[in-house]
Assembly symmetry: C2
Homo-oligomer: 317 residues x 2
């Protein structure tokens, strides 16, 4: 009989097919575990699959007395209470780097679309305003990419892939991260120094308690009126209220956002703005990165059930 695996978050069915071929899935699909399944059914569940951003605390873990492994689908694990997992000796795995290329591509897509005002341009053609020669102040020539200073905040696998892509656009690339690396980009010693220097801020930092709302009104003011913010990390890194105000008041020029403070909700004040490009947290959602993420999930589950350490363990757990 196949081992049981609880599916904690809500996933599209297509993303679970390969897991279902190897394990018996108990799909809670985002519902409370103890409401989705009777305690007897949960008694012998020892592994679960979750989306890293879904809150998963001690209370949920305690509904699964035999839980030994939490396997995050994707690179993030910010929703998982790592201390609670450690206390119970639960291993936590994820999919490091599996979606890095796709996420970095999305970051650059949002950067280019914001700087070149692609949504406004597309609408200008579709609405017939172009054919009617109706003037649009949003369509006046803007500064493009060449010669721009692009700052990357966070220099993990995604940050590096963003940097190497952005450098191809004849830009200057700088970065700030806790660690200074041997990389061909300018290192700025703080987030403040980075935003003082750059006019496009690419947020690629791993979200955590130490960087919640670190992109605040002051940081945005320093970025300046020709400045753009692109976020493919987590919504929590930005003070979303301050961002909406900065975009509305022209404190910065625009933003490209794949992540939001309270997904799947994007505030009306944000969705009404013309100088933003928005995507529904799909940075990592390409076919090839799903295959790579599923490979990591399966490798973690297979190792766990074989009694071996997780090959893709969250570092420090």
């Amino acid at each position: 009989m196949p081992d049981k695996v609880l599916v904690y978050s809500r996933f599209p069915k297509a993303q679970l097919i390969r897991f279902g071929e190897r394990y018996e899935l108990l799909n809670a699909a985002g519902k409370r575990v103890d409401e989705a399944f009777p305690a007897a059914e949960l008694a012998d569940v020892s592994a679960m699959i979750t989306a890293g951003g879904t809150p998963l605390g001690a209370d949920a873990m305690d509904m699964l007395p035999k839980l030994g492994a939490i396997v995050c689908y994707g690179t993030g694990y910010d929703g998982v209470d790592l201390a609670a997992a450690a206390k119970r000796g639960i291993a936590v795995g994820h999919s490091p780097g599996a979606n890095a290329a796709s996420v970095a591509d999305m970051a650059v897509t949002l950067m280019l679309a914001s700087v070149r005002r692609l949504q406004v341009a597309d609408n200008y053609v579709r609405s017939g305003d172009w054919a009617g020669a109706r003037p649009s102040p949003m369509m006046r020539p803007q500064a493009g990419m060449r010669g721009r200073k692009v700052g990357v905040y966070g220099m993990g696998e995604i940050g590096r892939k963003i940097a190497s892509r952005v450098a191809a656009f004849e830009t200057e690339v700088g970065y700030f991260s806790r660690t200074r690396y041997d990389l061909p980009y300018r290192y700025l010693p703080s987030l403040e120094a980075l935003v003082d220097w750059c006019s496009v801020l690419m947020i690629a930092v791993r979200a955590g308690a130490d960087n919640t709302h670190v992109i605040n009104a002051d940081v945005l003011r320093r970025l300046g009126s020709d400045g753009f913010v692109v976020n493919i990390s987590r919504g929590s890194v930005i003070d979303e209220t301050a961002l909406v105000a900065a975009l509305t008041d022209g404190v910065i020029a625009g933003a490209g956002l794949d992540v939001f403070a309270r997904e799947p909700h994007a505030p009306d004040a944000l969705t009404a703005l013309p100088n933003v490009v928005l995507s529904p947290h799909l940075g990592g959602h390409t076919l090839e990165s799903h295959v790579a993420m599923q490979d990591c999930v399966l490798a973690n589950l297979d190792a766990f059930f074989a009694g071996r350490p997780l090959p893709y363990k969250v570092s420090g757990t």
Copy 2:
């Protein structure tokens, strides 16, 4: 007294400021020259500024008996009847490479937005469909960029800048042009071979009579159902009717278009499609490329009025 320069096409006023500081401008603004100005006024006009795509034949040239120089604003000169100009001994200048980085950036913007379905994604967030968890078949994961074969048709200055940008996205880059160059990309010996090989076709060829409608139904069929077309060259290169059919019937996956067959008109059948990204021929329209194009226009005009050869002459004229 400053020399007179006729402005043949319709330009935004902001783009003419620097020319007006040095020359007396007669702005026909796209109207017939002999309707815009009396013959006496035109009698001593010896130079004109035009947009390279605006049709400019012998009839218009004949309205200016002293015409000695046609200076195109931008890199293109496909609207100018070069044979008629040569017959009258009129020098033709343009702005080679001045907007290459901006145009290449736009090509990559359209490529990424098409492949990652950015317009659909942005609309999915803004409409509230994401917040309402309403399923959208267009939002299913698609193949992204990594490992894709990207074909560049035309390897001039813009084609090279497209290729170097695209290569940064972990793709394979190939190209077809009349000349094979010493470049780190795969050379394909024909357009057919290129589209058989690639799944993204970037059109960067200089438009001319030899490549009108060269992107036809057969080429699109060869590109395939996971294929994308991006055009920043001229609308004439594509059989637009065949393209609309291929996009409607799923013969190809999508397209990103900055240029159209009859600008500023984009056909309704095209603007109604969800799998296209459209922009109103603004590839070259960044502040920095306008400055660079104006530098070329002024250098050409200054040289002409000083009796020197145009420094940025159209090759072969």
